[in-house]
């Protein structure tokens, strides 16, 4: 288990990571997600021990590692550029951490074979890194980082350098290897899909601070604030007024009113956050806000079609993404009514 308590890193006066507190449970897969410059890689480097921290405490399985050298932390690390040692064979790469721990030759050989088996590349022990593809190299890097059985594995954008197809494959591989080897993982990425696909929990970072930390599902459906709603959920945000009435919430947004049951959501001046898939052309029976719009563009995307619309005198932009067959007959420049499905929306503080 990894516990970060008020972890801060300052360069001069600038805080790259600002009083970050979060816990990664044993065996849990946690993703640090944020735009570039949000401090996620710095935080990873602090946990690994490559960068000395300015303030705060880090506990790994109860042991204070805040001032312990990287070598003595016993944390596996995987980088985006694989960082295999080019002058060593694959065997030597995977064995490096075991040699440092003075394992016996027999044990090392056995463990390396085990690891190459785990990553599905048992035949490559004698090869050199430059003879492998990017995906293979990253799997070897994973094997090397896990060989000495660290309780925590850190991964810094490990799929960033791979082609899309390989990336999808590697995601599956990482899920499988995580299931089999069960290390705690802290995974850094700026890619939402990776965060969705891999994580037990996601920490959203912005300007060096953790803005939210929860399961991907909760962050998506009940974003804690507008940054999480727009960055993680890719939700559209509309100004709204919410008022509690008869045990439900009356929401006024986009010049119409609808009722929603959303326990624990803020009222007063708020923002209505909703995904493009939860806004669709109304077929008579609107279940949420009925919003008249003019269609500015119709973008065919295969399974779905995106309707780019504007509403009202202030030309509020509303994007709706619907199954393509539902978009038949909608043409650019025509008027229609959108059903904003308020029961799928979330309210966040303005």
């Amino acid at each position: 288990m990894l516990e970060l308590i008020g972890v801060t890193k300052k360069y001069g006066e600038v805080a790259a990571v600002q009083s970050c507190t979060l816990t990664v449970n044993t065996g849990e897969f946690v993703t640090l997600l944020g735009p570039s410059g949000s401090g996620k890689s710095t935080l990873l480097s602090l946990i690994a021990g490559f960068t000395p921290l300015t303030e705060g405490t880090m506990l790994l399985d109860g042991r204070d590692i805040s001032r312990v050298s990287a070598a003595e932390r016993g944390i596996g690390v995987v980088f985006q550029n694989y960082a295999l040692f080019p002058h060593m064979t694959i065997f030597e790469n995977v064995a490096y951490g075991l040699h440092r721990r003075r394992w016996t030759t027999d044990r090392i050989r056995q463990r390396v074979e085990e690891m190459l088996e785990l990553i599905g590349l048992p035949q490559i022990a004698r090869r050199r890194p430059d003879q492998l593809s990017g995906g293979q190299q990253q799997r070897v890097a994973l094997a090397r980082a896990l060989a000495f059985q660290p309780s925590l594995l850190l991964m810094d954008e490990p799929l960033g350098a791979l082609d899309r197809e390989i990336r999808d494959q590697m995601q599956q591989e990482i899920r499988r290897i995580h299931r089999e080897a069960r290390p705690s993982v802290v995974y850094v990425t700026h890619n939402r899909e990776e965060a969705f696909a891999l994580s037990d929990r996601v920490a959203i970072l912005e300007s060096g601070q953790v803005r939210a930390y929860d399961t991907a599902h909760t962050l998506y459906t009940r974003p804690a604030n507008r940054f999480v709603a727009s960055f993680f959920g890719a939700h559209q945000l509309f100004p709204a007024k919410a008022k509690a009435r008869d045990g439900a919430l009356e929401v006024f947004a986009l010049d119409t009113t609808a009722r929603m049951t959303a326990p624990g959501t803020p009222d007063g001046d708020v923002l209505l956050a909703i995904g493009a898939r939860d806004i669709m052309p109304a077929n008579g029976a609107a279940s949420g806000l009925s919003v008249p719009v003019r269609i500015d563009d119709v973008v065919y995307m295969g399974d779905t079609t995106r309707l780019i619309c504007r509403h009202g005198p202030s030309s509020t932009r509303i994007i709706s993404e619907v199954d393509s067959h539902l978009a038949q007959g909608l043409s650019i420049g025509s008027d229609t009514v959108l059903d904003v499905r308020i029961e799928r929306a979330a309210l966040v503080a303005a």
Binding site: F50, A83, F85, Y96, G97, R100
Partner: protein, 270 residues
Amino acid sequence: MTEQLTKNRWDTVGQATFRVIQILAIIFCIAPALIVLLYSFYEDVFINFPPVRPGLGLYENLFTQKRWLDAIWVSFLICIPAALLTVLLVVPAAIALERAKIRNRDALEFTALIPMLIPTTAYAVGVYIIYLEAGLVGNYWGIIFTESIVAAPASFLIVRAALRRLPHNLDQVAMSLGASRLKALLDVTVRLLIPAMAVSTLFAFIHAFNDATFIVFLAGPGTATVAKTIFDALAYAIEPKVAALSGVFMLFVMLLVVVGQIVRRKTQPR
């Protein structure tokens, strides 16, 4: 159609001109070397053009006369330690300048290049004055030290270029796997710099071997390297023997350059 042809004709003329300039440039670069080599295989007492008496007398002379043999020996005595010292200075400097968080990095890096940028003779005069004060003129280690400082910029650039090709985080990975900072540096970065270090040693050696200026200023009358002996020989008379010496000298250095290139090709990470 005609226009097209005319244009092609001009292209051809342009290409031909370019080719001629190219050939002239190459000739200009290597002609002195070829002439020296040519003369080394003749036994003319004075320098005639073209030379008239072919023979290997000069070489025989060279390898039997004590003055020249001594010069070769002295050159090695100075250049080998100077080259090694250069690398010992340059590798830590390059690693520190590339990897560490240093204030005024650019200024420091520029300082490392100064010996290459200041006119050699002026620099030599400066060193001479300092050595005179310190009583180091004619001192063996004093000469070696100066030769290695003067060779440092070129060697520094070679090592730095190699260092820049190495990903920064290789050392970090080694540390995460349990290697101390020093162990990681030695196992990974320094290990991967070995080819560059070899090439850089070679270049430092060549640099010191070629130097006549600093030797003239600092060596005092007793110490004569190959380069200085050639210089001295020419001060009194145009001696054909110098051609033989220069020829050997040149072939030796060319050989080192070739070896350096081969080392670099063979060991460069693909």
